[in-house]
Amino acid sequence: MLDQLARQIEALLVATDSPVTLNRICELTGCGTESAEQAVLRIEAELSSGGHAMVVARLAGGYRIVTDPDLGFVVGQLFEGKRHSKLTRASLETLAVIAYRQPATRAQVEAVRGVNSDSAMRTLLERDLIKIAGRQESPGRPLLYGTTARFLEYFGLDNLEHLPRMDEMENLLKLSADDIERMASELSGEESDQIL
């Protein structure tokens, strides 16, 4: 049965997202180095005698509690074939422009974002979040892009009309009048580029 100091330290080692040094343990619990070391040993003993799935790992100059590596075969499955990386900022921005302006050309996306969006577009195509939706009837006949059914699924939308409208968005994001003006001027600037 763990004593109060050991319980406190155990809580720290379970909840932390990076190893906790002995000094930090002492600082947070107000105990001395030796007491802390002893307590860690008691935690290890108690975890092991109870047959628990956790061990105290000594890592990078600190401690943390992790699952026993011999249970890796079960724990690994938890994360198998599953989501990991989030969309990057660049991808999200590109996706946002395409979602609201679709069908949109790459040049249009880049005009709004102000940077080359090649690789973001490629990622989105690979992830099946955007698709080619035809060609624009203008010089060079550039490809047009739109969002996919997967896009809707990804954001939990029933259909495209469920995307918040610009006015609702302004409400949500509390854009200042300045921002709105800026957006208006950007959009009009962009359009005049197309006419030329």
């Binding site: 890796g72 599953k82 969309l87 999200l92 946002a96 300045d178 003006e181 208006a184 001027s185």
Partner: protein, 249 residues
Amino acid sequence: MSADSQRACRINIEDFEGPLDLLLFLIRRDELDVTTIYVAEVADQYLEYIREAEELNLDIAGEYLVMAATLTRMKSRMLLPVERALMEETEDPMETLMRHLVLYKAFKEVASDLRENESIWRDVFTPPGERERYKEDIIETDPGQASLLDLLLALENMTEKNVPPPRHRVRKPLLSLTDCVNVLDKLLPANVSRDFADALGKNARQAVVVSFFVAVLELVKRGWLTAEQRYPFADITIKRKEERWEVNA
């Protein structure tokens, strides 16, 4: 309750989450039951409170004043026998208000239960999860990894990022619809056509043009104005239809 004791328990209007919250407070303070209050009594209490707050020059949100007006109307109706007879056929507004108070009170109680849950669960910490220990280089996407808000914030972010290099131009905010309508009201005599661009002047700022354009669209929608454009990119001619515009209608 005497005026003195009322002063004694004067409370700050900022402590309330709105007129319903204040009403509930006044009812509870006088140990009344939400379902058996008399409109005249409650109305007097509420109005006195608002008056006091006004005397102290406190900033009173519009909702409080709307409620004050509603209560005054209710009270005066109660005092007029004819109106009262008529009212019996339709629903008693006091009944509606009481139901509303009961409902709001219930939600307030739920909110305070949630507050208790929050204070317990704020002290609960979860292990960070071992995803990274087991998966390092997965590039798949499942629903729920980015929320709609993320998407919107990305849009917002772009509007911040795309600030052009500083120019000699001071950005002015857009005008409100009411402002625009008031100006148009003066600018346009009834049944006279004017060129939209002329009406604003040659050197109108972009913000002004955008503001008025939106206002014109809204007035056309309401049927107060007509707007004509003979061909794409041609000048837009606007013409007043209604004699009087009730801006705040």
